[in-house]
Symmetry: C2
Subunit: 129 residues, 2 copies
């Protein structure tokens, strides 16, 4: 699976890496037991700092998506390890709230917002199958 | 309106500032014509870098939320200035997509996600009135 960085994006690089790996797991391009590139390798391939890759991997570990083995490196966990939690649900609300505030300001109502979400669910359904 | 920073958050400080100002406009605590604190004042009050405040204000200006006057400083625009645009809708999809990927991974389906969004719309409706 190819990982890429958008250096123009306002999203920090470590969060971009995290998002892509989460997307890889969701679309089954990364399966439980698969190894991610080593920190050194990925930093070198993408031309970014070791510390940035470390930060992404540490976050994914903290969230239960990967395990960091001393020898095998970063390995994708089984789905049981990242079931929903109260902590995650709170984070989801905290992330959605400012987006919904802005949507309302831009004149997008609840129904229109819901259609945007629904379209993304449909698109992802297509990518997964 | 009080602005505050969570130094523990994974969200960059300039984006936290931006989110709070957008929220202030959405909840009408900031009205068109209101002035924001000067860059120097806000940086000093929050104990952050001038450059960080500048970055937040530049982003808000770029998005049409504020105008930067040489004398009056940062002033909230009228709602006509931040109507929805194709660019915004694309950004909204780009922001929602990774969140929806993760929700699916965490075992949250479209209907459950929709309920989370709907609850936030209801909560905001309460804060606005």
């Amino acid at each position: 699976m190819m990982l890429g960085i958008d250096f123009e994006s306002s999203t920090p690089i470590y969060l971009q890496l995290r998002e892509q790996i989460v997307k890889g797991i969701a679309t089954k391009r990364l399966a439980p037991g698969d190894s991610l590139p080593s920190v050194r390798q990925l930093a070198s391939d993408l031309g970014i700092n070791l510390h940035t890759v470390n930060k992404a991997y540490a976050m994914l570990k903290q969230e239960g998506f990967i395990t960091l083995h001393r020898q095998k490196g970063a390995v994708i966990n089984s789905p049981d390890s990242f079931k929903t939690s109260d902590e995650y649900l709170k984070q989801l609300c905290d992330d959605l709230e400012p987006m919904i505030f802005e949507a309302l300001l831009r004149g997008i109502n609840e129904q229109e917002f819901s259609i945007v979400c629904s379209d993304i669910f449909k698109k992802i359904g297509g990518e997964k199958s």
